[in-house]
Symmetry: C2
Subunit: 252 residues, 2 copies
């Protein structure tokens, strides 16, 4: 078995609208998928309100614990957008108006004829020394400071930002996965599956019951960087399913 | 202004399938909404992997910090279902087979003719002294120990569990909300909105830009327990929108 290089990340989702249930977050799943493609494993997510000390604490705890930290939300022009200030405070850095961010905003607002007022200029604020993250949708950039990547909350913009950023990250070995679906209750397979997990302790084996259109069953998902090892474990799971008289499928 | 009683909660979402991006969580928004109805405010959410020390740490941190802690996920019959053990460890309590939980499982599996094996009996395990949370969908219960409520991850079951549990919680004053939608860019309103927030510091005023079917604009959401105060602040937001020549609407 090859020695796998694991690169880890966390995500802080900032915003009262997620915590109130008003807005369904969709950034977590997208960012997790984008990171997975380059071998970065999302290990922890926190959703915090638009409250300074909560944001500062989450940023400082998670940037120390993982290789990368991403944040979404709170970088717009209004009073409840406080992420840039909070990240500056977390790093003990002054908050400055980033010259290139300002230049981009000036250019955009000249083109559109909208007013570039004080509130909108707040979107050029970053901690001193930050690099910009491009926003191909609506110009106002995110930023990177050390291992922390500050992105927008609006899904279309968050997705464009992570798609741009992921090219620049030092990823690990990509994690591959195999999914085997059957019509057997997970309780029937649990003992056999536990034994397979014991034989392959490094493989992440997940068991997920489903119930759709009157049919129930179980999806088994195996994840690891080593494809040969994954293939071997998947064959044991397939054999377990066959021992219950079912033929594994790729999807529900 | 009346003195508001604030009751707080946190949620721990347990499961590698959420962190890998394979599964889109929908429990957060549902639980947040259910708690909001009874005046309990969801203040923080953590998504953690199926790893013992991560679950134990999250449970112990958040049960001390908030009035209630809810968890979803990890209470099925397979090797990756470790929530009951972790919660017992977090409380320093022995993990026992709960007699009533066992009785319910025996009854169900007798009715369905399926095998109640050792793996399925794990679903009767709780920390000593726990009370059961009913599962009207598939029998295997959740449980409550002190201020921690352990629920299933499957959305249909998680929703049934929180719907049952919420009747039993000591809620706070219910939080009311007003939403005002307009076609004005949030950057235009930001200064005026900031002044309204300064006049009503206790009201949670959120500003959310939208872009749908080629039309953009801003939704302003005001939240507080005091309806009269909320009405007064909402009128100021409506006047701000009118000062830009737009008439506020209820929805996008």
């Amino acid at each position: 078995m090859s020695e796998a290089k694991t690169v880890t990340a966390a995500l802080v989702i900032i915003g009262n609208e997620i915590l109130s249930g008003r807005t369904q977050d969709v950034n977590l799943a997208y960012i997790a998928g984008a990171l997975g493609e380059i071998g970065v494993r999302l290990m922890e997510v926190r959703v915090v309100p638009d409250v300074e000390n909560e944001i500062v604490d989450a940023v400082n705890t998670l940037r120390a614990k993982y290789d990368y930290l991403f944040t979404t939300g709170g970088i717009g022009p209004t009073h409840d957008d406080i992420t840039a200030e909070c990240v500056a405070k977390a790093f003990g850095l002054p908050l400055i108006q980033h010259p290139e961010a300002r230049r981009r905003l000036v250019e955009r607002y000249e083109q559109t004829g909208m007013e570039l007022n004080e509130a909108r200029l707040r979107m050029a604020n970053t901690p001193e020394g930050a690099e910009l993250i491009d926003n191909p949708i609506s110009t106002a950039p995110g930023f990177k400071i050390e291992n922390v990547y500050v992105m927008a909350g609006v899904p279309m913009i968050a997705q464009a930002m992570i798609d741009g950023v992921k090219q620049t990250l030092a990823g690990g070995d990509p994690v591959h996965s195999r999914t085997l679906v059957c019509s057997i209750g997970e309780g029937n397979m649990a003992e056999g599956l536990g034994k397979i997990q014991d034989s392959y302790p490094v493989i992440d084996i997940g068991s997920y019951p489903y119930y759709r259109r009157g049919k129930y069953g179980t999806s088994i998902v195996l994840r690891h960087t080593d494809e040969a090892l994954l293939e071997s474990a998947s064959e044991e799971v397939a054999a377990l399913m066959r021992s219950f008289g079912d033929e594994p499928r790729d999807e529900i």
